[in-house]
């Protein structure tokens, strides 16, 4: 395969980044031959999925191999059903099959569907359950014993839901509907030039890139040795998408604003001094991050993440793929040259990013990080053109209140809004529709607005737009613009 995860093929290919789905559980993996993947506590091999259509449902057969399954569910019509549950007693004796019996069935290679059938036959209370309870019972047992896996193409929808469910801590607990708001309110679209600052392991970046479809440019700000793009990799974007993705370190921003930034002289020197040490460290960090990436997308179990770390990943994606095992010794010279080349490349990219920023005409700003949003927002808004949207995510409301106040003092923005979204899922069944019993109680907060040309100090007088909230009133004073 030429391009891993080019995203246009409808057939699953080796090297593709895909998402496994079982019931409501997702897991992102890369398709590789003869590679064990743990999903929902089961070892599986994805070899048989190669060449099949995306959206295909598989069942797991002996040895962890996948076998395509027809989607048609043979629904065993319950023949008898009780009227209510008055005769059902929870004495733990209703199931005649013991755990050992079930294990024995499994070991004999009996299919999940048959196990479920046996469980029903050996349940003394099944016939007395109501029709609804029977349905529920079957559903529950199917979930446990019938391992059907669907292989899907990654998308913002799937990855955002997956991360929120599995590893909310890694994405600043950014709920998927909140991310959806950000992309819309930020008017993220093809052809824009967007500044992104996130510490959501690349999920926000990936979703922005997906919405831009390879048109326009993204400048990712980062802190530390480099941006974490583990989740971005899971999107499986074609290489071309990365050509217009730039990164710029936050710690050089002050210099950029002051006009003292030069990618060549000063940082260059620093880089050469630190080269070996620093870059090996950062490489090591990446090395660490790489399994974690996978761990990120994939794993709750740690052995799994090590086992499934795809080697191709390293070359697959520019920027994230610059991992070199320099500490292995041996090929030092080649490595050194290669490293120098990569460093030079990186320096060049940074200079390009600096140039893009310096034009101060970005079309949007998206913030979702673990840093306090206020200094970031004030600093980065300098690089955004007038009449453009910006969106800031924060898990907490207070920092956004501060952003709001500071922005009002500083001016240059209007239509500021602070909001959150409330999301509720429903069970919809004939005559049995109601909200799901559990809902997320918070998805974080958003502050968003529109940039405008800065006022010259003399005309900040009109009362209706008074920039600073009048704090003199006893109760509350409105400070809306």
């Amino acid at each position: 395969m030429a391009e891993p995860g080019l995203g246009c093929g409808q057939l699953i290919s080796e090297g593709d980044y895909v998402v496994l789905k079982r019931e409501d559980v997702f897991k992102a993996v890369q398709v590789q031959r003869r590679k064990k993947v743990i999903f929902e506590k089961q070892w599986i091999f994805l070899d048989n999925a190669i060449g099949k259509n995306y959206g295909t449902m598989f069942e797991i057969t002996g040895g962890g191999n996948l076998q395509p399954k027809s989607n048609i569910v043979a629904s065993a019509e319950p023949k008898e059903a009780g009227a209510d549950n008055r005769n059902i007693v929870d004495d733990g004796k209703s199931q005649k099959l013991t755990r050992e019996d079930i294990e024995a069935l499994k070991e004999k290679g009996i299919k999940g569907q048959e196990i479920v059938q046996q469980l029903i036959e050996n349940s003394t209370t099944f016939r007395d359950k109501t029709e609804f309870a029977q349905e529920k019972y079957i559903k529950k047992k199917k979930k446990k014993y019938e391992a059907n896996i669907t292989i899907l193409k990654p998308s913002t929808r799937i990855l955002a839901i997956m991360y929120y469910a599995r590893e909310p801590g890694k994405i600043c607990q950014l709920r998927y509907d909140t991310l959806a708001q950000m992309l819309t309110l930020g008017n993220i679209r093809a052809g824009s030039k967007v500044i992104v600052m996130e510490t959501c392991t690349g999920l926000v970046l990936g979703s922005v890139m997906e919405r831009m479809g390879g048109y326009g440019s993204v400048i990712q700000m980062y802190s530390g040795s480099g941006p974490n793009r583990a989740a971005t990799d899971c999107f499986g974007f074609p290489r071309s998408f990365y050509e217009q993705l730039y990164e710029f370190p936050l710690d050089k921003l002050e210099a950029l604003v002051a006009g003292t930034y030069t990618s060549k002289v000063i940082p260059g020197e620093v880089n050469t001094e630190k080269t070996a040490e620093e870059s090996s460290r950062s490489d090591n960090e990446k090395q660490d991050a790489a399994p974690e990436v996978v761990g990120d997308c994939l794993a709750e179990e740690s052995e799994e993440s090590m086992d499934t770390s795809p080697p191709e990943k390293k070359e697959a994606v520019k920027g994230c793929g610059e991992v070199s095992k320099n500490h292995k010794g041996g090929q030092n010279l080649d490595k050194a040259i290669e490293k120098k080349r990569k460093q030079e490349e990186r320096r060049k990219r940074e200079a390009e990013a600096a140039k893009l920023l310096q034009e101060r005409n970005a079309d949007g700003l998206i913030l979702a990080s673990r840093f306090h949003p206020s200094p970031l927002l004030l600093k980065l808004l300098e690089f955004v053109a007038p009449s453009r949207p910006f969106v800031v995510y924060c898990l907490y409301r207070e920092p956004l209140l501060e952003c709001y106040t500071k922005l009002r003092e500083k001016g240059g923005v209007l239509n500021l809004n602070l909001s959150e979204t409330w999301l509720r899922n429903y069970q919809v069944l004939p005559n049995r529709s109601h909200p799901k019993l559990v809902m997320s109680s918070g998805g974080g907060y958003l502050l968003y607005g529109i940039t405008v040309a800065k006022d010259s100090p003399k005309d900040t007088t009109r009362h209706e737009k008074s920039e600073e909230p009048a704090a003199k009133k006893q109760k509350v004073s409105e400070d809306k613009s």
């Binding site: 989607n71 979204t421 400070d479």
Partner: protein
């Protein structure tokens, strides 16, 4: 001007947003020699607007001023002329993400209504995607087409005046996603399935009533859709205010000379400075939108 790309300067023929204050704005078509009345006085398009950068502050004839904004689909949503109920950005965001829309997506929509969602879809699927939108009300369909032309997005959208429940979308097996906002979506599920690509796609139906949702879900299941999921999303707005609260005075623990009398204590209250605490808060408005509609999503797989 085109809604599809930002530009720096205001030009003749543009649609722009005149921003007067929070939640107080309106759209205007820029025209040489034309004038716009605002509560702050007149804006003359030729002298005050054309050639100025978007985001500029413009002084009106009475000395007040406004800002002129570039029309994003989100600003358009809160400014467009209503011909029907419209979808707002909160639902639109969810629809866009859950339908997996991106540049290049082909989308079928019904009804077009006032074009609020249509503009947002076109923004997202441009420059290589397409929107087929079906509206059974003739004037609405015509008006929508006129707006798309004026906003220079008409090359990305096809408007059809027909009843989707009877005649479908007029296309088959080309859509990545279908969106339904019609009174009886269950009658259009079959057509939606026809419109979706052979290899599958996503569908969304928006309905205000749970009874509609119930029937729609049944129809989706009958037509072999999977991952059927109904949800509701609401926007909670916080008004940022500075709040001041008084600190109560509990008196003093040790009695000062001559203050043991209750009458004296009472007299002392005004003397001691009543202190107060001030803080910023995000306050929920007394009333807000409690329901827009249920969003039902589903997937059609190849099999």
């Amino acid at each position: 001007m085109s809604f599809l790309e930002y530009k720096e300067l205001i030009e003749d023929g543009d649609t722009a947003i005149v921003f007067l204050g929070h939640d107080y704005m309106f759209p205007v078509t820029i025209q040489h020699g034309s004038q716009t009345q605002t509560k702050y006085g007149v804006i003359r398009h030729s002298t005050d607007l054309i050639g100025k950068p978007y985001g500029s502050k413009v002084t009106c004839s009475k000395g007040g001023w406004v800002h002129i904004l570039y029309p994003t689909p989100e600003l358009w949503t809160v400014n467009l002329p209503h011909r029907t109920q419209i979808l707002y950005s909160t639902d639109i965001s969810m629809i866009t993400m859950m339908l997996e829309l991106k540049p290049g997506s082909v989308v079928c929509e019904s009804g077009t209504g006032s074009g609020s969602l249509s503009h947002a879809i076109i923004r997202t699927v441009a420059p290589t995607g397409h929107l087929y939108t079906v509206e059974f009300h003739q004037q609405r369909a015509e008006k929508a087409m006129e707006e798309f032309r004026q906003h220079k997005v008409d090359h990305l959208v096809t408007v059809k005046n027909q009843d989707v429940c009877k005649n479908g979308f007029g296309v088959s097996h080309i859509a990545d996603a279908v969106f339904l906002d019609i009174p009886s979506p269950w009658e259009a599920i079959g057509h939606a399935k026809d419109a979706l690509k052979i290899e599958g796609g996503r569908i969304c139906s928006f309905s205000p009533c749970i009874e509609q949702v119930q029937r729609t879900c049944l129809a989706l299941e009958e037509h072999g859709f999977t991952e059927i999921n109904t949800l509701e999303i609401l926007l909670r707005i916080y008004d940022v205010r500075t709040v001041t609260m008084q600190i109560p005075d509990f008196g003093k623990a040790t009695e000062d000379e001559g203050s043991s009398e209750s009458g004296d204590t009472a007299k002392q209250i005004p003397a001691s400075q009543p202190s107060s605490a001030m803080f910023k808060s995000g306050i929920s408005p007394k009333e807000s939108v409690g329901h827009t509609g249920y969003l039902t999503f589903a997937t059609k797989s190849l099999f």
